[in-house]
């Protein structure tokens, strides 16, 4: 035991209550303020130290400051209550893929406590350690390790306490579901609650950074894990279904007012004047807030703010030159633009010479549009400036970054700002939740009252962060036996003004008020992730810029699996084109390329790739033959296509089966098969749903989604002009095969890898390849909307 340093507030509160003293935050209890719902967590409500109580307290408008909980204190991560239940505090957020449930499973397992006796609090900068929030699908893969280690350490400490109590060595004790017993005399038992309930562990952990946090204890071997691997039902689903969940979008406190933004009517417009008299008559009108080109209207009630924002008369000056090419001209523009940056070319062998000597050379160009997050609930946040603090309720997946960014933006000390994460619509990267959080805080400071801001549909769809558009130029050479001997890959992404997360000088409000870095982050362009052994290849990836860099609705940022669907569409479509040129079966062609090298990495990715492709083909019932199949005679043409990739350590192979309507061009993906290997699976049924969601999300991007624009503004602004996948598009059958590791016997068990994004990577190409199989027509531009498919079919005489 060591000296306690930075006391986490939730511990302080628990102890104050436990000791009968009054918490300095107790005064707000029962005031009707927000309470996070834990209704699905089977924890006794009567417990005064229950998580509900501390959650309630932490929600309040306290005087602060809000220092970060110290991740090197075990008490910052785990609290054992007197009734033997446990609360875990982790610095992640759950976008609905069930990571919260998975974290609870992992920590319960290491702590040796029943899952139902635990609960989990996430993403609150004042009460949970800073694990960065969510992103990169690394919650299970990376952040799960310190969670496991601290839970194992807590178990070790509890065994030590029991050892002292019973005066027997630790190895003569047995622990099961939060009860420690003397092996030689099982009548002598102590519960975790009896040993430490309501008290501090007072254990200092080690580790240079939070991901390295560890105690002395070792985590369990895979074969000793009992809760990991079970399909525990997600605790967040019942309150989402019965209406009891409290969402960030519903965050409300007394005195709160409502704001709506007034965005520039065209990109890059300059604010000349505002006619405030145009809205003074709106009931409930409070104020127009403007700075630079940022404008918001604040009213007492929400519908009043909506009306005032619509009604406000503003005089704008358009930019003198076009802000971007039209969406129809985009790819031509990108192909002819001067790149702003390039990756170092990735060259193997001598591709020029190999192609010059090839028996057959294939060339193709592919295009992929800008696509947006277009969250089902437009961006929102609520901020309270009382007590000289700033508290922001937000669904932003990186609560800590939002806290730090807002502090910098407003010139406040970071410990005077806190962010309380609550559930919200899809957390799939750098969404506009970042922007709304800054706006709410800015407006709250300006108005001096709690302000809730929400974007309207047209703002979200037009102005949220975009995944970059791509163009690709590919060339491949086959030898006389149909072997792929050379491959050239040239990609260009329109990712020049790539936004990071919660940057105080690149969030939209900062850009609009004129605060911005001297140069953008330059963005990036990617190459496909596969393990094909090709003797000669060159891969070049470059970035190009749009004319307008700042204050643009075509700001790019991370969108679920950033770059993955784009580059895998090109990479795996072209492999299919090469297979067709070689008259080879597409599965067999890929396996030939995967098995052409025997070298593997320490994650066995080659072996696991081969395994995944075979598993997908077997599950589908793949009959080996080249694509396309002989053209059908009816109005519905059917076909199947395969695609494979990896994302970090997770390997995915998918097969799509399509029906293409000859008369309308409509594509229905009737069946999807996914073989998925993310190592150790924490929750199989939860994982299946995450994979299904990934595939259908990518299917939406395949069939429907495209940001459209003229030279001055985005013109796709709602669900009619920017369609998305609907119930009508749903496949009749989805088969998910969970693979765990490579097929070789006697290998060590694999650790848990990420699964939040990998399965959306290969889908676009699988569908494109299936359409080719069905029709003999190769679609090289996404999305595959009916009109474009029909035009391609007609052009090919199908």
């Amino acid at each position: 035991m060591t000296t306690f340093t930075n006391i986490p507030k939730q511990i302080e509160e628990l102890l104050e209550q436990w000791n009968g003293t009054t918490s300095r935050r107790n005064f707000i209890k029962g005031s009707g303020l927000l309470v996070v719902s834990f209704s699905a967590a089977a924890i006794a409500d009567a417990n005064p130290l229950s998580p509900e109580a501390s959650a309630d307290a932490a929600m309040a408008q306290a005087a602060g400051p809000y220092p970060d909980p110290d991740f090197r204190q075990l008490d910052s991560w785990i609290v054992i209550h007197e009734d033997g239940t446990a609360t875990f505090y982790v610095g992640k957020t759950d976008g609905g893929q069930g990571t919260g449930t998975a974290f609870r499973q992992m920590m319960s397992d290491e702590l040796d406590i029943a899952y139902t006796r635990t609960t989990l609090i996430m993403g609150r900068t004042d009460t949970t350690v800073d694990q960065g929030g969510s992103g990169g699908s690394d919650g299970i893969q990376v952040d799960g390790w310190p969670m496991r280690r601290v839970a194992a350490e807590a178990r070790r400490v509890l065994l030590g306490l029991a050892s002292a109590r019973f005066a027997v060595p630790v190895d003569e004790l047995a622990v099961r579901e939060g009860v420690i017993a003397v092996k030689a005399d099982p009548s002598r038992t102590a519960t975790y609650g009896e040993l430490i309930g309501g008290k501090r562990f007072n254990v200092t952990l080690t580790g240079d950074h939070i991901n390295a946090t560890t105690g002395v204890a070792k985590v369990k071997a895979v074969q000793d894990l009992k809760i990991v691997g079970q399909s525990v039902q997600r605790y967040d689903i019942p309150p989402k279904v019965d209406g009891s969940l409290k969402w960030a979008v519903g965050a409300t406190i007394p005195g709160m007012v409502h704001a709506r933004n007034v965005k520039p009517p065209v990109a890059g417009a300059t604010l000349i004047s505002i006619d405030e008299s145009s809205v003074r008559g709106v009931p409930g009108f409070i104020r127009v807030v403007s700075k630079g080109n940022y404008i918001a209207v604040v009213c007492e009630r929400e519908e009043q703010a909506v009306r005032a924002a619509r009604q406000l008369k503003v005089n704008w000056q358009k930019p003198a030159t076009p802000s971007f090419p039209t969406s129809e001209e985009l790819y031509n523009y990108m192909r002819h633009a001067t790149p702003t940056s390039s990756r170092d070319p990735d060259v193997v062998g001598d591709p020029d010479r190999a192609i010059a000597g090839a028996a057959k050379v294939i060339e193709a160009e592919y295009d992929f549009p800008f696509q947006g997050h277009t969250a089902i609930g437009p961006a929102h946040a609520m901020a309270d400036p009382s007590n000289g603090q700033m508290t922001i309720w937000s669904n932003d997946m990186k609560a800590y970054g939002l806290r730090t960014g807002v502090a910098q933006f407003l010139g406040m000390p970071p410990d005077r700002v806190r962010v309380i994460w609550m559930d919200g619509p899809q957390l799939y990267g750098r969404s506009a939740a970042d922007d709304a959080g800054f706006e709410a805080a800015f407006l709250a400071k300006e108005i001096g009252r709690p302000v809730r801001v929400q974007w309207m549909r047209h703002e979200e769809t037009a102005w949220d962060t975009k995944g970059p558009a791509y163009t690709f130029t590919m060339r491949g050479g086959l030898d006389g036996q149909g072997n792929l001997i050379a491959l050239e890959y040239n990609a260009r992404s329109a990712d020049y003004n790539h936004l990071g997360y919660n940057e105080p000088d690149t969030v939209l409000i900062a850009q609009l008020i004129g605060t911005r870095p001297s140069a953008p982050a330059r963005g990036g362009a990617a190459i496909p992730s596969e393990l094909y052994a090709i003797p000669n290849r060159r891969r070049v990836a470059q970035v190009v810029r749009m004319p307008l860099v700042w204050e643009s609705p075509l700001r790019t940022g991370n969108l679920r699996d950033p770059n993955g669907p784009q580059v895998t569409f090109a990479g795996e479509s072209f492999i299919d084109e090469l297979a067709a040129a070689a008259s080879a079966d597409p599965v067999e062609f890929r396996l030939r390329l995967l098995t052409a090298s025997a070298t593997d990495d320490n994650q066995f990715r080659r072996a696991r790739s081969i395994n995944a492709v075979k598993a997908a083909a077997e599950t589908y019932g793949w009959d080996a033959r080249p694509s396309p199949k002989p053209l059908g005679t009816g109005s519905i043409l059917t076909g199947r296509g395969v695609s494979y990739c990896f994302r970090n350590q997770t390997v995915v192979a998918q097969i799509a089966e399509v029906e293409v309507h000859r008369g309308t061009g409509h594509v229905w993906v009737k069946r999807l098969v996914c073989a998925h290997d993310c190592g150790l699976v924490i929750n199989p049924e939860g994982l299946r749903r995450t994979i299904e969601g990934n595939m259908l999300y990518a299917l939406s991007r395949t069939l429907h989604e495209e940001v459209r624009f003229d030279t001055e503004k985005v013109t796709s602004v709602d669900w009619n002009s920017h369609p998305t996948l609907t119930h009508k598009d749903t496949p009749a059958q989805i088969d998910v095969v969970l693979l765990n590791g490579d097929p070789r016997p006697n290998r060590p068990d694999l650790p848990h890898y990420g699964a939040g994004e990998a399965a959306c990577r290969p889908t676009v190409a699988a569908v494109a390849n299936a359409i080719y199989d069905a029709t003999g027509v190769r679609l090289r531009r996404v999305p595959f909307r009916d009109g474009r498919v029909l035009a391609a079919l007609k052009a090919a005489g199908v």
Binding site: Q230, I237, L699
Partner: protein, 165 residues
């Protein structure tokens, strides 16, 4: 401003408000019902759906003064502490991801099953088409609707275990 009387989930409420105010804002901000949610304000996505007189209605484009019948929101589906079979099926199938749209999915499915107790696949696709989900939980929604239909045909008995495993 007008006094608008609304019957919601078995209770009676009167609000003094601009009669053109969309019902959604009153449900959320005056009555504290957070089930219906703002998604588009255009009647395109379904996130704001409530049931009025057995019909799924988009509360974001429904002026409060036009509402005649009793309103049921997501919070009002459960009766006497027991979840509606549709809600039960949603838990058993573990449907939601982020869950933001699921109010619309559940309310539209409830109205659909009210109309068509045993819908075909095509009827589910057609009947649910206006309820959008950006996490793309459609496949599980279809399974949940079928599960709920079976359960309701059997008298509304719970079709599965539910709850925390």
């Amino acid at each position: 401003m007008s006094k608008i009387a609304l019957k919601v989930n078995g209770g009676a409420h009167t609000v003094d408000i601009d009669p053109s105010t969309p019902l959604l804002y009153i449900l959320r901000n005056d009555l504290g019902l957070q089930g219906p949610r703002f998604g588009c304000g255009l009647g395109q996505c379904g996130a704001c759906t409530v049931i009025i007189g057995g019909t799924a209605v988009r509360s974001c484009v429904t002026p409060c003064s036009s509402v005649k019948g009793e309103i049921t929101t997501l919070e009002g589906l459960a009766k006497a502490g027991a979840l509606h079979p549709v809600q039960r099926a949603w838990i058993d199938e573990q449907v939601p991801q982020c869950g933001f749209c699921q109010n619309g999915q559940i309310m539209n499915a409830t109205a659909l099953l009210d109309r068509k107790p045993n819908p075909t696949d095509a009827e589910i696709r057609e009947g649910m088409a206006g309820a959008l989900c950006r996490c793309m939980t459609y496949y599980r929604i279809h399974a949940a609707i079928k599960r709920a239909a079976t359960s309701m045909a059997a008298g509304g008995a719970a079709a599965g275990s539910g709850g925390v495993a």
